[in-house]
């Protein structure tokens, strides 16, 4: 009966809005783009990337028909919007997926105003073009000329291939970015010990972002022009970060930037020199066109500083903004070393970090802490062509503590419940979790309407994460008391602890809370908030099956292989792994009877939260006829010449990234083996070595030619010296 009443009410509300109904038709099509001279598959909406900007006025009813003209399914999520759960657009969780060659109609009242956006919530479609701006105007808005600046990142690589490479920790992207942070470079910069300590603490080279992008875009272009603005005019720029995994620094060549809103909600104006826009965040800013006959550059620089995209405001000579210099990776590494325990935990040294106030990455910013002192700059200074550029410590950078709502934002009275989320992850295997559990490994978080949910978020991972809550705004408790700002994305830096709170104001449904870095979300970094006693969702006819579909995203297995073809035989390994499990097959095939063959296969599982420890079971077949060792290190008779055993074992990653592998076979024979892979000697040279208690050993090196191919040479105690090529997939 109660539901009936609610329905009636809903109808009444809807019909009340009906006269302001605003309709859009979105046609989603497969397309081919060419940004870099290479044709690549992408997805366009109404023929464009980004998707068209949708404009509404508060009080409208949005009617949006999405026509899926592709042969595979899609979805659209309205980012930051307050709407009934079934309109939220998360396929299988809140809304029916839009099947190929079908149309889905969204209809919801617009109850808010500000800068928002929309994007696909299906797999990795957001990376290849499915994002657009969603602008809601206030009923009475102060007249200010405005412009929308939608930022995005572009790569020619297939996003599924990117995802696979990330899970394999392939460092090809680091090579492309010049960010391998290898030993030769470390020595050149006097940072050998820094690098060694870093690896000792079991860390691979870290970067501020994971993926190499060919281009960064403003509204789909590397440079966008808005010449219509007059000198002296104040312009509202609505900045939306619609990228898949890139944070952007914003700088303006015309002086200060006044921030007036974030994530759609107004804040008291605050003037800054620059600010960072997290993935999926939006900021409204006001900038002034200060001079005549000049266009001023509003420039968005990728956080890893591999590229930028510009918006020119005004008309005339283009006033450039000084580009941000390259990051000082080894300073960052040194800082990480200090913060990381050997046990793999982050410690903040009692600094109580929060709200982006202490950006530890500042040690890497040459514009603030001065240029890196390496041989190159030293020689440049000697030539006398450049003054020694020193850092500028007067740059005002926005942080969350500076955001203040213009109105009180206190939550309505209600019972308060506090949840603790620790952001956790394993960079080496690209596992991203909350409290060490992925979405599929954890239960839904049940909430009740009217409750106030307070979430204490601690980032114990090595990367920053933009945590996004669907369908609700939360307050960031940032010391502004009653005037805490409202947002729907919280960027949280490593080692920070932030507290947010929201009122459970919806009636029903499942609401996602997840990291908005696309590849982190797909790895399972999130939770689902579910209202207790939600009615069945007509769009999800089979909830159990649907939930399985949601969970499947982070249960997927990734395949990788390394196949060597060398003059002394073929070595190789193939792996299939997901968050916790792995299957692998290794082989060594000689070209003649003497060198024989060996093959081992394992099924294993990672046990601890840092994934240093795993157990496995498997078998080992081998045949040689030339080896003459009689005993292993433990005094057991050697079976190296002929072996067909089942075994169980345990692998533990030691400091300096050495894997210790101890196993026992069904004949009672024990073996302990140490392996270190991929020591980054120079940008493209990797060394590796292994030794075991059967007195087998091998050392080798690899020169990386392309993402997939390397030249290799190695010496193996059984097979001797060899050289050839290696395929790394």
């Amino acid at each position: 009966m109660k539901h009936c009443y609610q329905l009636l009410l809903l109808f009444a509300v809807l019909s009340g809005y009906a006269q302001n109904s605003k309709e859009y038709d979105l046609y989603v099509t497969d397309t081919v783009v060419n940004y870099t001279g290479k044709k690549v598959k992408a997805i366009a909406i109404n023929g464009s990337i980004p998707a068209p900007t949708l404009h509404f006025t508060e009080g409208d009813t949005a009617v949006i028909r999405v026509h899926n003209k592709m042969h595979h399914e899609t979805s659209i999520h309205w980012h930051g919007l307050l709407l009934p759960n079934e309109q939220d657009g998360v396929p299988y969780l809140t809304t029916a997926p839009i099947k190929g060659m079908s149309t889905h109609t969204y209809k919801f009242p617009i109850k808010q105003s500000g800068t928002y956006w929309y994007h696909s919530h299906t797999m990795l479609q957001e990376q290849i073009g499915m994002y657009g701006a969603f602008i809601i105007h206030k009923k009475q808005e102060p007249e200010l000329p405005e412009y929308t600046m939608l930022l995005s990142d572009w790569t020619d690589a297939n996003p599924h291939e990117i995802e696979r490479s990330l899970h394999k920790a392939n460092d090809w992207y680091a090579i492309k970015k010049g960010a391998t942070q290898n030993y030769a470079e470390a020595i050149g910069k006097g940072h050998f010990l820094t690098k060694f300590t870093n690896e000792w603490k079991r860390m691979h080279a870290m970067d501020v972002s994971d993926v190499y992008y060919e281009h960064f875009f403003v509204n789909g272009k590397q440079e966008d022009h808005a010449p219509q603005f007059k000198p002296g005019e104040k312009v509202r720029v609505r900045i939306i970060n619609g990228s898949a995994s890139t944070y952007f620094w914003l700088n303006y060549a015309g002086g200060k930037i006044t921030v007036v809103a974030s994530d759609g909600m107004d804040v008291q104006p605050v003037a800054v020199d620059r600010f960072i826009v997290g993935v999926s965040e939006t900021y409204d800013v006001i900038v002034t066109i200060p001079d005549k006959d000049t266009a001023f550059e509003l420039v968005a620089t990728a956080e890893d500083r591999t590229g930028q995209a510009s918006l020119w405001l005004g008309n005339g000579v283009k006033q450039l903004q000084q580009p941000l210099p390259k990051l000082k990776y080894f300073e960052g590494m040194k800082m990480m070393n200090d913060m990381m325990t050997v046990g793999g935990n982050m410690k903040d040294m009692g600094m109580n970090m929060s709200l982006q106030q202490m950006d530890m990455n500042t040690v890497m910013y040459p514009e603030i802490t001065g240029k890196e002192k390496d041989k190159k700059t030293a020689s440049m200074a000697m030539e006398g062509h450049h003054h020694q550029e020193t850092g500028n410590t007067d740059i005002v950078t926005l942080n969350y503590a500076m955001l203040k709502s213009p109105v009180k934002t206190n939550l309505p009275d209600g019972p308060v419940r506090t949840l603790h989320f620790e952001l956790t992850g394993n960079m080496n295997r690209y596992v991203w979790t909350l409290n060490n559990k992925t979405i599929s490994e954890s239960d839904k978080v049940l909430i009740k309407k009217g409750e106030n949910i307070r979430i204490v978020v601690t980032n114990n991972s090595m990367m920053r994460h933009p945590m996004h809550l669907h369908g609700h705004f939360f307050r960031i408790l940032n010391g502004q008391g009653d005037y805490a700002p409202l947002k729907n994305v919280l960027d949280i830096m490593p080692m920070e602890t932030d507290t947010i709170e929201f009122h459970a104001s919806e009636e029903y449904g499942n609401w996602y809370f997840h990291c908005h870095i696309l590849y982190h979300m797909m790895a399972g970094m999130g939770r689902i908030f579910t209202y207790e006693n939600s009615p069945p969702n007509p769009q999800i006819p089979d909830p159990e099956m649907a939930l399985k579909m949601v969970y499947n995203d982070d249960r997927r297995y990734y395949f990788s292989a390394e196949v060597g073809l060398e003059s002394n035989g073929s070595d190789g390994e193939m792996r299939l792994e997901n968050t916790r499990n792995f299957f692998d097959v290794e082989w060594r095939l000689g070209f003649n009877k003497n060198t024989g063959y060996e093959t081992e296969a394992h099924f294993g599982r990672y046990l601890d939260k840092n994934q240093y420890l795993s157990v496995y079971t498997g078998f080992d077949f081998r045949y040689h006829n030339s080896l003459e060792r009689e005993e292993n290190l433990f005094g057991q008779a050697s079976t190296q010449n002929q072996r067909a055993v089942a075994c169980i074992g345990l692998i533990y990653q030691l400091p300096w990234l050495i894997n210790a592998d101890v196993r026992l076979d069904h004949e009672g024979k024990a073996r302990l083996q140490f392996v270190r892979k991929d020591i980054p000697v120079t940008e493209r040279v990797r060394l590796w070595g292994s030794w075991n208690t059967d007195f087998e050993y091998s050392v080798g090196s690899r020169y990386i030619l392309t993402k997939y191919w390397s030249l290799s040479a190695h010496y193996d105690s059984d097979m001797g010296m060899g050289g050839g090529i290696v395929l790394t997939y």
Binding site: P231, V317, E331, I368, E389
Partner: protein, 282 residues
């Protein structure tokens, strides 16, 4: 057979390409104005524009004209002029970032084409955008020179630059001596008389050494006194009173800053962002 011919073609082509490597293909030549002064400018401009096999640039010192020959399938005039602007040189298309211009050697600091400020027409008090709007309403102008010098010392200490800290401390000594006591309010005057000597002592110590450790000890007490002084003034742009909890074996030390972001002057870049704002002075 066809493949063979293709291979032969490819080899022949490769030959042709390598033999004329120095030449620019699909050439287009354009002459554009680039502002500059001297021979040294010429070197910098051409270095910024040149790209092997793609761009050949020649800048004329007398006419300020840059002649570009480039491969039009690979680049364009705008892209080249952008690089020149990043090196510090204005053209008709791009105006160099102010920082890049300032970093040019003195002899190269050519007269820039003037900008016409749009704001100056509306507000007479502003002259161009080079002056940040915030600066005009700064902290009580009376003590401006003192705080300007103080912030310079702080910035030098952030970079562990003892030499600059020492030089800036000498400046601070000078402005302390010439502080206009007649314009101070009563309470400011009383306070000034109280702290004047210790200000001088601390500034003097910082000035007479380049040992950053010693300078930081005095900077700690200098900061305490200037904090007390800052409390007696009102300002539109806030000063932030910030604390490093670790300094002096955990006793802690404070400093003043114009921004809320922490840049710790007590440990240099190692602990740059360690600390917190304890008070905002407005």
């Amino acid at each position: 057979m066809k493949t063979l011919r293709n291979i032969a073609m490819a080899v022949a082509m490769a030959f042709v390409f390598t033999s004329c490597e120095a030449q620019i293909k699909n050439p287009k030549t354009e002459t554009v104005k680039v502002y500059g002064n001297c021979e040294m400018c010429k070197k910098t401009i051409e270095k910024a524009a040149n790209e092997k096999g793609i761009v050949k640039a020649d800048w004329n010192v007398d006419t300020d004209m840059l002649t570009l020959t480039y491969d039009q399938t690979k680049t364009n005039t705008d892209a080249i002029l952008k690089k020149v602007a990043y090196a510090g040189y204005d053209s008709e298309t791009f105006r160099a970032p102010d920082d890049a211009y300032k970093n040019l050697p003195e002899c190269c600091q050519y007269d820039r084409p003037a900008k016409v400020s749009a704001i100056a027409e509306n507000h007479d008090s502003h002259k161009g955008h080079d002056m940040p709007a915030a600066e005009t309403n700064q902290n009580s102008p009376l003590f401006n020179p003192v705080y300007t010098a103080y912030f310079s010392i702080k910035d030098a200490l952030i970079k562990s630059d003892g030499k600059t800290a020492s030089a800036k401390a000498s400046e601070l000594l000078k402005v302390i001596a010439t502080a206009p006591m007649d314009k101070m309010k009563t309470e400011q005057h009383t306070l000034w008389m109280k702290i004047q000597n210790s200000l001088k002592t601390d500034a003097g110590h910082i000035a007479e050494t380049t040992d950053v450790k010693h300078q930081r000890d005095h900077f700690a007490s200098l900061s305490e006194n200037l904090y007390a002084l800052a409390k007696t003034t009102t300002n539109d742009a806030p000063y932030y009173y910030q604390k490093c909890p670790m300094y002096d074996n955990g006793k802690g030390a404070h400093w003043l800053s114009k921004e809320n972001t922490i840049k710790n002057p007590y440990y240099g870049s190692a602990m740059l962002s360690c600390g917190s704002t304890v008070e905002t002075l407005k």
